[in-house]
């Protein structure tokens, strides 16, 4: 904080743009406490669940487990792996997410690059055609009937194809192409006799790595987290993604529990520990990779904020 000291001795401007007076005020403490409490609301629930998932059944039933596990054992996780259906779902979901992301980036680039070229004849009409679905959707039932006619219901591809083209992501990519890749680079390549494909592949793509990373993550996280289309279009258990599996596990349990007010009588400890383990099983991968990917998301929001 000592660097960037400017002007009066009591004032400083941090490198990231935040300003402060050197003296530590009460307001500083209040803000730190406030932010810390908000952060705790994001951490503690997961700590509690994690503890529950590795605690002894009796301790959980006696409601003794708060933030630290009691009688540590990994039985719940063992049974998740032995049962195998959640593990299978996890692998299947990773596969679907990968396919979705690759195809999504492909279709996104195919739309964004041509539309970023001012010289393209018919550009405004084509842009309108490709953006309009973002503002007006036919809705669930007409879409459902189309997917039915295409024989996509209860098919893995229904989780991939309908959503790979995203007008929103296309817009972000188009904006990036227009604002971050100098026209002169491409022009000189054209003068050297390069084709549109060559320019895209050899000049534009290597310069677009940050946006490719960001949008791939948007695609991947979007697909990984969504379950509504599983609920609408999928019947077979083997084709359901892991979020929907978890939904069914937890939702069916809570429905049963909330229906009978004498909850404690109906519940044995095992389902609760199992449920906690299942939630953790689905959450841990996200929490593990999230801190490393976060900065790419932030970049994406910034680019998305300055639409062209």
């Amino acid at each position: 904080m000592a660097k960037n000291r400017k002007g009066s001795a009591s004032a400083e401007v941090a490198s990231d743009g935040s300003r402060a007076i050197n003296k530590f005020h009460v307001s500083d403490a209040v803000m730190v406490v406030f932010i810390s409490i908000l952060c705790l609301t994001c951490i503690l629930p997961f700590l509690h669940l994690a503890s529950k998932s590795i605690s002894d059944n009796n301790a959980v039933l006696a409601k003794k487990v708060y933030l630290f596990p009691i009688g540590i054992n990994f039985d719940a996780y063992t049974s998740i792996f032995r049962d195998g259906s959640l593990v299978y779902s996890m692998v299947y979901s990773v596969l679907v997410t990968l396919l979705f992301t690759i195809l999504g980036m492909l279709v996104c680039t195919c739309a964004a690059y041509p539309l970023s070229k001012k010289r393209l004849k018919g550009r405004s009409v084509l842009t309108f055609l490709l953006m309009f679905p973002m503002y007006f959707s036919a809705g669930l039932i007409p879409t459902y009937l189309v997917l039915k006619d295409l024989h996509l219901l209860d098919n893995m591809w229904v989780l991939i194809l309908p959503l790979i083209y995203s007008p929103y992501n296309m817009l972000i990519m188009k904006t990036y192409f227009q604002s971050s890749i100098p026209d002169s680079l491409e022009e000189s390549a054209f003068l050297d006799g390069a084709s549109n494909f060559q320019v895209l592949w050899q000049i534009v793509m290597p310069l677009s790595k940050p946006i490719i990373a960001t949008l791939s993550l948007f695609y991947a996280v979007g697909r990984w987290n969504a379950y509504a289309d599983n609920k609408y279009y999928i019947n077979s258990d083997s084709l359901k993604m892991i979020q929907y599996k978890l939904y069914q596990m937890v939702a069916s349990a809570t429905e049963a529990q909330t229906a009978s007010l004498s909850e404690a009588a109906a519940v044995t400890s095992t389902p609760e520990v199992l449920q906690a383990a299942a939630i953790m099983f689905v959450t841990i991968p996200i929490i593990c990779i999230y801190p490393f990917l976060q900065k790419y998301f932030v970049k994406g929001v910034m680019i998305g904020a300055v639409k062209g």
């Binding site: 904080m1 002007g7 009591s10 004032a11 401007v13 743009g17 935040s18 300003r19 402060a20 530590f24 803000m31 730190v32 952060c39 994001c42 629930p45 529950k52 708060y66 279709v107 739309a111 690059y113 539309l115 001012k118 010289r119 393209l120 004849k121 018919g122 084509l126 490709l130 309009f132 679905p133 503002y135 007006f136 959707s137 036919a138 809705g139 669930l140 039932i141 007409p142 879409t143 459902y144 189309v146 194809l161 083209y165 987290n225 969504a226 379950y227 509504a228 609920k231 609408y232 979020q243 978890l246 937890v250 809570t254 909330t258 909850e263 609760e272 939630i279 996200i286 932030v298 929001v301």
Partner: protein, 317 residues
């Protein structure tokens, strides 16, 4: 003025015959074929299906076998108590979401901007963005383990400390549910929402702050007179954009927090469309409500765009 000029020059560049354009840019048109095919199949192909809102559509009979009934479906829908309830809930809860959820990211951004310790700031930001990356299924599951009346952590702590005798039905009584639902929504989106305001704050000229400090302005004065006016444009644009979404609803967020005890409030348009349509097979009715939602949404977005431009902000479309 500038956009007019831009249009002029770009049309000059495009001023060649289609034949010449194809000859020069056929590869670009070829690339566009892929996304165009996708939107035609998965978006545009669904539009003709909307004619079912003027029919008594029966899945077994298809479009050819179902009868045209004019506006009857719409009349039925607008007299349907379920629809009116869903419409009321959607509007009320979206407005409440806006009232509770909109200021929070701004406050958070202002505070994060004032934080003194860069490392603390970085770590807390990372933590606060996290809920945005968790699915509603995970958030819903976690919420249930936190707020269940007799075994949820929060109720355990409160009853254990002797503050309350019985568990609070956070998610199983409609008024409690409304508050919990709204607060979880705020919690999920506040960190992420603050990014855009932090970016706007970074764009404010640092010399303004220096000048203010030399003049002896304290933190609150600087916040009120420099930071807030500096992000006003962003605030207005986002507010208008959010007002344009007042008819939308997030099916997954409603669905994971749904249960029979809170149906009265949880029953919103997205739930209506799903339950009437795919649940009960009332396709025409569901599609009519979907169309209503889309049209009102479209009108609101266009209106919001106009208003934003009138106020001198960037448009949304």
């Amino acid at each position: 003025m500038s956009s007019w000029k831009k249009k002029k020059t770009s049309s000059a560049i495009q001023d060649i015959t289609w034949k010449a354009a194809f000859k020069r840019d056929w590869q670009l048109y070829l690339l566009l074929l892929f996304p165009l095919v996708m939107v035609v199949i998965f978006s545009y192909a669904a539009y003709p299906g909307l004619r079912m809102v003027f029919m008594n559509y029966k899945p077994a009979r298809g479009f050819d076998g179902s009868k045209w009934v004019g506006m009857k479906i719409f009349i039925k829908v607008f007299k349907d108590a379920d629809f009116l309830r869903a419409l009321r809930n959607s509007i009320v809860f979206n407005l409440l979401d806006l009232a509770v959820g909109f200021p929070m990211p701004i406050i958070l951004a202002l505070i994060l901007n004032e934080l003194r310790f860069p490392r603390f700031k970085k770590v807390t930001q990372t933590i606060l963005y996290l809920p945005h990356f968790l699915s509603w299924v995970i958030i819903g599951s976690v919420a249930y383990t936190m707020f269940r009346p007799s075994s949820g952590l929060v109720n355990n702590l409160l009853t254990g400390a002797g503050i309350i005798a019985d568990g609070i039905p956070f998610l199983t009584e409609k008024w409690h549910w409304a508050v919990t639902y709204l607060l979880i929504g705020v919690w999920q989106s506040m960190g992420w929402g603050s990014i855009i305001y932090l970016a706007a704050i970074t764009g404010i000229n640092g010399e303004l702050y220096e000048a203010a400090m030399i003049d002896g302005a304290n933190r609150w004065q600087r916040m009120k007179n420099i930071t807030l006016p500096g992000i006003k444009g962003t605030v207005v644009t986002l507010l208008i954009m959010n007002l344009g979404r007042i008819m939308g609803s997030n099916f997954e967020r409603l669905d994971v927090f749904g249960n029979t005890q809170v149906k009265e409030f949880q029953y919103q348009l997205a739930i209506y469309i799903y339950e009437k349509g795919l649940g009960n097979g009332a396709f025409s009715q569901s599609a009519a409500v979907g169309l209503f939602q889309s049209l009102v949404g479209l009108a609101l977005v266009i209106l919001a765009d106009r208003v934003a431009k009138m106020l001198g902000e960037d448009g949304l479309i």
